[in-house]
């Protein structure tokens, strides 16, 4: 797989897991339909929806013109009318063309109408860098969406979450944004037979530890886990928290972890300034100040439009070595 994430056991890929989740949703609920640029005949820009058109037909796997605002808004309207649309936006950078619809309508209609108009809509999009796609396809803007009340923001970081987060997202009566990190599509892993649906309100501890909390989500999770492995060889026992849901944030999980370890490193591929990492750091300061035995560290992307050249791109992004170094500063 791409990046320096830990190798997963062979099995289903993240892409397949997401496809399987879509297939299950389309099969089990007539109100569900998939809509977006090239989701049908092309099979999805990242191949997620390959084969779904053939199985469900053009009405339910709907290719759209390049009109992000138009088709995201149409998704909102369809949701208002009782459908359960899944709208795919190619990348988070493109979603800015639909920001008006997402913020001014999807996130706002319920409140503005005094509770009359819930918007049960799911919007999926890729996020993040690592594929040398340059500055207009590589940014991590999920934190911007996590700023907006009325939205739920998810970041499945594992194959299992890719498989099992869509169903609860569709069951949510309010708009849910799912951010799929571009480097995760080829990650593979075993998926346990479907059990209970993923709890969208809580973060999850991916690796328990006692010495330091590595708090992250999405595409940075494999890097954080790799860093934890490396730290373990030095006798530093790191706990890795996967936020999973970026809004509403599971403060309690973060606070509880910091209360155990007294040290925190927040890893977020977005730019540091005004980032989710900043929000999490602030909440730690607010809610776990007297637990801290070291300043909170953040590992974020360099404040630069993500460059194309491989070495530059790698240097711009949080890497395992950066996480280890931050951990050293905190523990050391």
């Amino acid at each position: 797989m791409a990046g320096d994430g830990r190798p997963e056991e062979r099995g289903t890929t993240y892409r397949q897991a997401m496809r399987e989740a879509l297939r299950e949703a389309l099969r089990s609920d007539d109100r569900v339909f998939l809509m977006g640029e090239d989701v049908g005949r092309y099979g999805g820009c990242f191949g997620v929806s390959l084969g779904l058109l053939e199985e469900f037909g053009p009405a339910r796997v709907r290719d759209t013109p390049l009109s992000e605002s138009g088709f995201v808004g149409a998704g909102i309207g369809a949701a208002l009318a009782g459908m359960r649309p899944v709208v795919e936006v190619m990348t988070v950078n493109f979603s800015l063309l639909a920001l008006d619809q997402i913020l001014n309508n999807a996130a706002t209609l319920l409140h503005m109408s005094g509770g009359q108009l819930p918007v049960p809509l799911v919007i999926r999009m890729t996020t993040g860098a690592g594929r040398q796609l340059g500055a207009q396809h590589s940014h991590s803007l999920e934190g911007w969406y996590a700023h907006i009340p009325g939205l739920r923001v998810l970041a499945p970081a594992t194959v299992e979450d890719a498989r099992h987060m869509l169903a609860p997202a569709l069951a949510d009566p309010d708009p849910v944004l799912i951010f799929e990190h571009v480097t995760l599509y080829n990650a593979s892993g075993e998926i346990a037979p479907s059990t209970a649906p993923v709890d969208l309100d809580h973060a999850v501890t991916r690796r328990p530890g006692t010495d330091i909390s590595l708090i992250t989500y999405g595409g940075s999770l494999p890097k954080a886990l790799a860093a934890a492995d490396e730290l373990a060889t030095e006798g530093i026992d790191a706990e890795v928290i996967d936020l999973r849901t970026l809004r509403p944030l599971d403060d309690a999980a973060v606070t509880a972890s910091v209360a155990r370890t007294h040290r925190a490193v927040v890893i977020d591929e977005a730019w540091r300034t005004g980032s989710l990492a900043a929000e999490i750091s602030a909440r730690i300061a607010e809610e776990a100040f007297y637990e801290l035995d070291a300043p909170v560290e953040r590992v974020c992307s360099a404040e630069v439009p993500i460059p194309y050249a491989r070495r530059l791109e790698e240097a711009a992004l949080p890497q395992t070595a950066d996480i280890v170094a931050a951990a050293h500063r905190t523990v050391g």
Binding site: T64, G70, F71, G73, G75, G77, S113, G114, P248
Partner: protein, 366 residues
């Protein structure tokens, strides 16, 4: 079609690819009425139209008064002068049809049947308002009447309307979604994205452009390269007509023909309704961008005055009847104002309600 700022003619103009088809339709069979709207004769129908327009006019005149007394705040955009559009179009819609509106939507809401009390209470920010006091003048909603709101982003309601239409179409329901927007929306990408999408997917959408010649303070010839809006809409491959928006019967006629076609599966239809607002863009503005004589000229074509005149000429309206209608409307508004003034305000503890479907109290939302 010329873009003269002077009032146009009464007759409906046709433009675009389906002009011929429309003309045929106009000469064709008398428009069919929905079962719930029995034909009670022309006089009675006109009385209904007049009452609906007067209700909007008097309601908004009261709004001016209340705004000056600081009972109503925020941006308030008055519809005075444009009443024929809301009333005429609504005549063509059934209760199952959907309406998406703009921030100048008191007229659309009242015409749609949202009680004056609920609208007035909303403008007073009370819990009894049609949006529970969270919307205000620009954000009137009524899910039970499929009224999907005043949208205060120019053209922001258009994609949403396409989605409502898409859902109806996917479920095989013969509903029409009617979306109001202004001439200013023509400069927004969302209009063009929606027009393309609606025509491409043959959506049951009625696009109603209220062309009042100004995008806020900018005249149409200063914001559109091509001011023939119907012609431009037609270029997307949809039926598009330009209509005299100051004649409620012309509006109703065009809207009926359009909704019938849409309902029958003929795809989106576009109406350009040429109209004019008699007052400022928002409650008070210096109105420096319009010529006094232009305003006066359009006031001479007041849709209420024209209908009243027409009814009198035909012996369909006595002075006493007009006085009765005025009284009825005034009483209704008086009651609405009294009720709004006495209605409860939402307790601040409920501030965070309706942020998500689960957020009942502040504690549940971070």
């Amino acid at each position: 079609m010329s873009t003269a700022r002077a009032p146009g003619t009464r007759s409906a103009a046709t433009t675009g690819t389906s002009a011929k088809k429309a003309a045929t339709r106009k000469r064709g069979a008398k428009t069919r009425r929905p079962a719930d709207r029995p034909d009670t004769g022309r006089g009675a129908r006109r009385t209904g139209l007049l009452t609906a327009m007067l209700r909007i006019r008097r309601f908004e005149e009261r709004c001016v008064e209340l705004y000056s007394a600081a009972k109503i705040r925020g941006f308030v955009h008055l519809y005075i002068g444009e009443e024929a559009v809301a009333v005429g179009v609504n005549e063509a819609l059934g209760p199952e049809d959907a309406v998406v509106s703009t921030y100048r939507e008191h007229g659309h809401a009242l015409a749609r049947g949202i009680p004056a009390e609920a609208v007035m209470a909303e403008m007073h920010g009370r819990t009894t308002g049609c949006s529970g006091g969270r919307g205000g003048s620009m954000h009137l909603f009524d899910a039970s009447r499929r009224f999907y709101g005043g949208n205060a982003i120019v053209a922001g309601g258009l994609p949403l309307a396409a989605g409502l239409a898409l859902a109806d179409r996917m479920r095989g329901q013969e509903h029409v979604t009617c979306c109001f927007f202004g001439d200013g929306a023509f400069a927004e990408g969302e209009f063009h994205e929606t027009a393309n999408l609606a025509a491409l997917w043959n959506l049951p959408l009625l696009l109603v452009c209220e062309n009042n010649l100004y995008a806020m303070g900018t005249g149409i010839e200063r914001h559109e390269a091509q001011t023939d809006l119907a012609m431009r809409a037609a270029s997307y491959g949809m039926v598009a007509w330009a209509v005299d928006g100051m004649d409620v019967e012309a509006v109703e006629d065009a809207a009926r023909r359009a909704t019938e076609a849409v309902r029958a599966g003929a795809g989106p239809h576009f109406l350009e309704l040429r109209t004019y607002r008699f007052r400022a863009h928002s409650m008070y503005d210096p109105d420096r961008y319009r010529d006094r004589t232009e305003v006066e000229q359009w006031k001479g074509r007041d849709p209420i005055g024209r209908l009243t005149e027409r009814m009198r000429e035909n012996g369909e309206l006595e002075d006493a009847e007009l006085a009765r209608i005025e009284r009825q409307v005034t009483d209704e508004i008086d009651r609405a104002v009294d009720a709004a003034a006495e209605a409860p305000e939402e307790p601040v503890e409920n501030l965070l309600r309706h942020v998500t479907s689960a957020s009942i109290s502040s504690a549940e939302v971070r």
